[in-house]
Symmetry: C2
Subunit: 421 residues, 2 copies
């Protein structure tokens, strides 16, 4: 398409999404969950066709020399389809967040002031290769009463268009407008630029992808983003820590999975416990092939550790690397986290109520943990049922974002003709 056509195409998509958003906003849960179950049945009935569409993407990706890890993410097999079907069924079964009225107060003049939970409107999702996001994100947006515009990676275009057709059929089967979930069917990158600046049609963008994508979108976007930037997470082993617990926690935080955003990247250890604690942990980490980089006092205990530079304290490795720093106080630990951290997820290991409370109150991160590994940072673990992502924004949704993060509260007032003034 030419860029003029792209602009027109996106305007059409946006106009249709805005119109559909009104129908979805007032749809009851029978219709919304009915559509999710119909989509699940559609995936089941079209397994072969979907895998065939994905095979075209995979073949082209191989021709283009895509890395094995990327091919793996792109792949849509029977197992992946089953997980998507399971996800749909699970989201269908969750309570409908929409319409609830809370905090109703009666004012002195008798009028009632409350807040109603309502959808955001139209949500744009921009993501990379995994085609399962097409289903997972669409399901969460639909359940929360929003219309959705999906923009997947160009390498997954055939898969996403095929999934889009199944989604449309499911919406129609449930009597909902098929425009409620639209897949952008062009791989032109201009479509992304159009989507993130379409303040008239799109209420919020949820980008899912690597740091480079997010940084680029942050630069371009005029529509607000619910975004996730860095996950430079810390565990601080306090002077009052139970060292056996600290060992378990630090090990789990680093090695549960190296690539997740909740993985510990810097370990802070109070000087009073470092001799008893660190060598044993370091041996265990090394046995798991984790590279260690430390401050001077760390290296006095672990001579083989590399020197940690300023840059290390700022880095989210997302890899088997750990920076270690010895600190003299809780204050120094908090200062370090505030200065170098990314305000994502940070944890203290301590048996002191006072230290735990101070840490939890003063560390300005989306999640602040006591005696738990940072790798728990996840919507399912928090009991949200499902998550659309993790937000490092401070406004609106902070931390793991479930259905509630895709909604907002409006004021509802009821009276009997009261007048002001």
């Amino acid at each position: 398409m030419k860029s003029l056509d792209i602009s027109e195409y996106m305007t059409q998509l946006g106009t249709r999404a805005r119109a559909a958003s009104r129908a979805i906003a007032r749809a009851d849960d029978t219709a919304k969950s009915g559509a999710l179950r119909a989509i699940a049945r559609g995936l089941q009935a079209n397994r072969d066709a979907l895998i065939a569409a994905n095979a075209i993407d995979l073949a082209r990706a191989r021709d283009n020399g895509l890395e094995p890890a990327m091919l793996d993410r792109l792949k849509l097999d029977d197992k992946a389809l089953s997980r998507m079907i399971e996800g749909l069924t699970q989201i269908a079964g969750m309570p409908d967040p929409i319409g609830e009225i809370t905090e109703v107060k009666i004012r002195p003049n008798g009028m009632r002031v409350g807040r109603m939970r309502v959808p955001l409107g139209v949500i744009g999702i921009i993501y990379e290769s995994r085609p399962n996001v097409t289903i997972d994100a669409a399901a969460l947006c639909l359940k929360s009463g929003n219309a959705t515009i999906l923009r997947g990676g160009s390498e997954a275009i055939e898969s996403n268009v095929a999934l889009g057709a199944v989604i449309r059929a499911g919406l129609e089967e449930a009597g909902l407008p098929s425009d409620a979930i639209q897949v952008i069917e062009t791989t032109d990158r201009a479509a992304v630029g159009a989507l993130v600046t379409a303040t008239e049609y799109v209420d919020v963008i949820v980008p899912r992808g690597g740091k480079r994508l997010i940084a680029r979108l942050t630069e371009e976007a005029r529509v607000p983003l619910i975004k996730h930037l860095d996950g430079n997470c810390h565990v601080y082993v306090d002077s009052a820590a139970d060292l056996a617990q600290a060992h378990t926690i630090a090990l789990n935080a680093k090695t549960y999975r190296f690539g997740i955003c909740g993985a510990m990247e810097t370990l802070l250890v109070h000087q009073s416990v470092v001799t008893d604690f660190l060598p044993k942990l370091a041996a265990e980490l090394r046995a798991r092939e984790v590279e260690l980089r430390g401050c001077e006092r760390t290296r006095a205990l672990l001579p083989d550790a590399a020197v940690a530079t300023q840059e290390d304290w700022f880095t989210e490795y997302a890899a088997p690397v750990l920076a270690i720093k010895v600190v003299d106080s809780l204050d120094e630990a908090i200062d370090h986290i505030e200065y170098y951290g990314s305000h994502h997820t940070d944890s203290i290991v301590t048996d002191s109520v006072t230290h735990a409370r101070r840490f939890q109150r003063e560390v300005d991160s989306a999640s602040v943990l006591v005696n738990l590994p940072t790798c728990f940072a996840d919507g399912f673990e928090y009991g949200l049922g499902a998550e659309i992502g993790i937000s490092t924004n401070k406004l609106h949704a902070r931390g793991p974002v479930g259905l509630e993060g895709l909604t907002t509260l409006k004021w509802v007032l009821d009276g009997e003709g009261q007048q002001r003034g």
Copy 2:
């Protein structure tokens, strides 16, 4: 100052605000309210000096030919000071929103997941001539545990610098860092550009001012804005309306004050009641010198009314002008509001529960009212105690924004060494 100096000055201000924000975030309410009361005493003790500083601003403004209405807004007299003192005392007495932990749930593995209300961090306030905003906004930000950077209009610079000195003294008296509330002491407009792009130091900007200011800031800003754009508010008189109530409500909605953002700008009337309802209301509005503009069917009943154009339906007059449209159904009323409205505050007058519920659910505005005039759109009327402004954003704070809108929720998790996986 040169622009390089401005940039350096703003970086200094930002760095100091960020540092102070940590102290304010952990300050207890005794300190925060103590500071507010100390500032109130400071205003009381410095009445003459403050009025003298304001006199310099007023003299310069007169020399510059500022309009009488603007001069009036700029003026700081004993009455205005008393109102500021009263506001401070009132905000000091409100409950501290910070630190409350809610929604605590125990997960199957025994860990406890809850949410703690915390400050946003550093809030920038950009406003126009009224110097009372310096005190009112600073007080709300301080009470909610935030550091603040205040940028008032250049015409009020002497007043604002004088108020800033009183604020600093009050903070120090209460043992809080004086950098918690800083007044920008240059009138260079480059400071505004620096402030709204300082994502490193500023968490949110609350602009207070006319549409032109807000539009300009929206264009420039990289820091999120809690902003208020248009107030194109509607009252819809339904087929099932109590017409006496409808009369009172429409009259109050239009004439309580023409200039407020909650004033009714378009009246929608169901065709089945228009003959009984409209002529009487029109007579009353005309008696109050309200200019009427109507659709064809309106003009059939009110031949003297001007023709309402497409543009009228989109317009926030903020003046004694009213657009009137006759509609055939609740659906047409909702469609009109969704298409032409600004999603600020809209009201239905009806005795039908079904119509009331549909209107309240389907009209996508920050406040949706039943049997009440739109002019109630105000934080005090809603019981917020005080408001920093009214937001037409959908994310985070929507509608009147009180202390809660200046806070956010972080996740707090407590465990005993549970592991993931």
